[in-house]
Symmetry: C3
Subunit: 140 residues, 3 copies
């Protein structure tokens, strides 16, 4: 059993930018030595981004964006905005709802995700960001 | 320390079918050899189902269904439906919101869940499905 | 590789009480022996509380509370209430949506969370509670 922690970096446009990071996770997994079976913890540091899985096709992406706009509208009143004036209260709430971590199993060095199930980073902030994403592989 | 990956299969009715898989997880845990303390990653491949914990009583299940119908209504407009015509845009959105993975600790071969806290698979698709669920046990 | 399971206890006021447990997690991590790199599973037993990460400032906390009140209002109709009369149907639904577990990586004995990203326990119940939270550290 061992553990290996890797870092990848992603440039985003913010405003609910949904970015498919599946290939980056698979590529990192292929380079991990001594682990064939186990799981990867995917984690995004920061409080205005989240992670989930979704079928990465433009319709689903558009629907995800409009859903978050409905659940936590950008232009609603946020106490965070009143206090800090940075206007990204909606980003914090969306990120807290979606969650910053994901945990996926793999076996024989293959992710056990579905064929149409991609891993996505969602950047909710109100400006472009350079994001670090942690990939921590654990197993045998 | 070791890792063991198991697969279980569940038949669902779709349409926010909420299925208690706690006993299957406990049963799989009891059969794992050489691991008494650690955690289980529960993961559902596919992009129209999710996992969470809830008190499995008919009132809560009914409330969960009506909540998802309110948050992402089946009959709303979805760009996914416009593009693919399979009518399950709501399923994709609900699944992305709930999440496809769950991570639960155990000790002395007992899950550390609460007495009224069950593990549920929620199938959001718009038809019956045969689902595979991954149970990956890691620990010592 | 090893695993160590710790328990912490938190008194809450219920009603979407949001409690910063970051220092308790860091403190527990500092006391774990023989693990410098790995991840911590944070889990709350029970079906009326959840865990997430958020910037812990009073504006964000207020916004999170009002968001949950909007997504699953306390005074809406819940079948759970009709059946059990304990009036916490909204608590169960909010907890199932947010999730009871969190999984965070660390390296060199430091959590890889962002500077303004705190770990919070959210108690959705309709009364004060004494909560147990499980912290399970795994790594090398």
């Amino acid at each position: 059993m061992t553990v290996e922690t890797k870092h990848i970096h992603i440039s985003t446009k913010g405003f609910c930018d949904v970015i498919d990071i599946t290939d980056k996770v698979k590529s990192a997994l292929s380079l991990v030595s001594d682990i064939a079976e186990g799981s990867v913890t995917i984690f995004v540091p920061g409080s205005t981004a989240g992670l989930t899985t979704i079928e990465y096709e433009s319709g689903c992406i558009e629907d995800l964006k409009s859903t978050f706009e409905r659940l936590a509208p950008q232009d609603a009143h946020y106490a965070h905005n009143a206090r800090w004036g940075d206007g990204n209260g909606f980003s914090h709430i969306r990120a807290a709802l979606l969650g910053a971590s994901l945990h996926l199993p793999f076996k024989a060095k293959k992710l056990l995700t579905g064929a149409w199930q991609q891993i996505v980073l969602v950047d909710f902030d109100n400006r472009p960001r350079r994001r670090e994403v942690i990939l921590q592989f654990m197993g045998k």
